[in-house]
Amino acid sequence: MDGLLALYIFMLAAFTGYEIIAKVPVILHTPLMSGSNFIHGVVVVGAMLMLGTADTVTQQAIGFFAVALGAANAAGGYVVTERMLAMFKKKEG
């Protein structure tokens, strides 16, 4: 991809994140932090692309490690955030 285009996406994503997070009530900060962490789990897609194009055994091993870690980030982030928000809802009635 064109480097400048990537920079544009980077900038717009930064503004999107800032605008969405900026006016959040304080009680939601912790679950939202956890939710953003879950979204970082999308790194697993990059890891899958790397493993999918790995040629040597070393690359496969590192790729396997990367996909497993990324999947753990995504799955763990989802479960933990969901549990926090479920508890939150009960409290609020």
């Binding site: 897609v45 692309l49 999918g52 790995a54 070393t58 497993a68 999947a71 969901e82």
Partner: protein, 153 residues
């Protein structure tokens, strides 16, 4: 690598679902719905990646997904509410570890041709590795601090 339009479209949809999900999570009434929407976004993105033609090691990929995903799913269900911050820090570090490993493969393949991509890969590996090792130490320091004050990662 030019990706087929259905993969690009699915990734685009996944990104949109992430933003909707985050938006939902930022208000108490829709917070729970928000994480579920974001979860669908992740599933769409991962499923689409499997459909890219010419990818090798698909079986290895599925195994790694199952292994990492199920281990984290179970530990996430089991962890005590008071230990949540450490758990989030650990998962966050794992994502950083994945990013570092991706940069490592890029180097192993010799994909980093120009100076700019080399610098980006080094920075990526560095940040990823710091985040991985940093969060593996965090729970210890965190637990010590928990006695006197609250702990946030």
């Amino acid at each position: 690598m030019t990706l087929p339009i259905y993969v690009q479209g699915a990734w685009f949809l996944g990104a949109a679902l992430f933003i909707f999900g985050l938006k939902g999570m930022s208000s108490p009434a829709s917070a729970r719905k928000g994480i579920i929407i974001a979860g669908y976004g992740m599933l769409v993105a991962i499923a689409a990646t499997f459909l890219i033609p010419g990818l090798q090691n698909l079986a290895l990929m599925a195994q790694a997904l199952a292994l990492g995903g199920s281990a984290a799913w179970i530990s996430g269900k089991k962890v005590k509410m008071t230990d949540m911050p450490q758990m989030v820090a650990i998962y966050n570090g794992m994502g950083g570890g994945a990013a570092a490993a991706i940069a490592a493969i890029e180097f192993a393949k010799g994909d980093a041709h120009s100076l700019a991509t080399t610098v980006l890969a080094v920075i990526g590996a560095l940040i990823g590795a710091v985040s991985f090792t940093g969060s593996s130490r965090k729970p210890i320091a965190c637990r010590r601090r928990m006695r006197s004050m609250s702990c946030s990662p």
